[in-house]
Subunit: 261 residues, 2 copies
């Protein structure tokens, strides 16, 4: 572990430089303002190019170890869409939606994606790009150790015990240590992407509603998903009806949530 920690704490010499484009904070503030959870949509269709662009933006979210354990199902088939709205209890936000997206965390995909990262590095190096040693080590050695939990999470529990004792003498990574932890791990990244989706729609003048009230079992069956997959949320899309926003945004005082220590 000590050799690898040195790899991770050193800044590699890569010669890559990326300058950020100029950005407008006020434009972002307006997008945040525009994004409200809309419960009733009008009949305005969402242009296909808007859907496609915003879905691409969705995938630009940062995600854990770049393992991209997420999927976004755009349910277009009218029968399936109707079924999906039903599985969201036919709440108006689902029933009146022009489009419905199901965001899914697929924790088990870490393994094939770690391999795909290694392949990507090989291609990049063949094209003259430098890949940090730490990145190779991460996907080939560390990631398999961290993300493998084994049947019934048995390997995870062994790691948990090891980490517990290691923790007395050293700063120690701890999670995830079971399959539920893997679901949480993948769900976080998927949620980051969902926020991109909702803000992206707001940027295009369209509304969304993130829904967690659904029958996850039936939604998974509809999409041929596995038990280990986690439906992060269903997001409906459209243009707000006159009665689409139920009231002003409610947030408790920010001093309850922002703590300076």
């Amino acid at each position: 572990m000590s050799e690898s920690s040195e790899i991770f704490s050193k800044v590699p010499e890569l010669g890559y430089r990326e300058v950020a484009p100029a950005t407008d904070p006020q434009a972002f503030a307006r997008i945040l303002e525009a994004r409200r959870s809309v419960r009733v949509y009008d009949q305005t269709p969402v242009p296909e190019r808007v859907m496609r662009e915003v879905l691409e933006w969705t995938l630009m979210a940062p995600n854990s170890s770049n393992l991209q354990c997420w999927e976004f199902y755009w349910v277009r088939n009218p029968e399936k869409k109707k079924e999906l709205a039903k599985y969201c209890f036919n709440q108006p936000a689902a029933k009146t939606a022009q489009e419905l997206i199901v965001a899914v965390a697929r924790p088990s995909h870490w393994k094939k994606h770690a391999k795909q990262m290694v392949e990507t590095f090989k291609t990049a190096e063949a094209q003259g790009q430098k890949i940090p040693k730490s990145a190779w080590a991460y996907y080939q050695k560390l990631a398999p150790f961290v993300y493998t939990q084994g049947p019934l999470s048995l390997f995870g529990y062994i790691k948990k015990v090891l980490f517990f004792f290691r923790g007395f003498t050293a700063v120690t990574p701890r999670e995830p240590t079971d399959h539920k932890g893997m679901a949480l791990w993948a769900s976080k990244s998927c949620a980051l992407a969902c926020e991109n989706f909702m803000l992206g729609m707001a940027a295009h003048g369209f509304d969304t509603c993130p829904m967690e009230g659904f029958d996850s079992r039936k939604v998974k069956k509809l999409l041929n998903l596995k038990r280990s997959d986690e439906v992060t949320m269903v997001i409906s899309v459209g243009k707000r009806g006159n009665n689409g926003v139920y009231g002003p945004r409610v947030r408790f005082p920010s001093t309850q949530f922002i703590k300076e220590v």
Copy 2:
């Protein structure tokens, strides 16, 4: 349940209307482009007003049932900041950061926040605003049923069995059904807010790095958090050094993730 489902599937008459401000999709595309995970920061300080504004923006994210089970610790004390960087394995993204934020999911806060929502409704109605029946019912009846898991998640497991059998004949809500499920539930909302934070910083011309490599036990101890709290991520902030971005953004082909069904 049938009476309440009707409450939730009907559109209430509230007379509230909110028009979205005009937004600029290209401005959002530039913000997304600017947001890269930065591993090395230069010495540029982050103005306090930027930190405060972006933290306020963070709280504008949608969140599950508006129960706001999140907290954002801005670790400013130099000693604590150093400790925190150490708990992030002194990775350059933490060690060279100008500012460090710890995003925490606090699932147990649902109860007091549900009560706070009811108080908020009372105040709003006293001021002449209409609150939908479904909202009252949600915080007073449904939320306590959904989010109470009981000691050792026993009530959660009872619900799980009930939902399982109910699921044969009706569309049925299922999660969360234990304390780990509560952690996942709150973490999702917290992650939505984290994305606001990172994009908000990018909008202001500052960089971030979301980190999940940390010793959660030690971080919780540093912030006096409970075992049931979940450190969603540590986010470092600053301005990218010349060598701050390690390489071009890597994403696998979007057809792997965007599925049309």
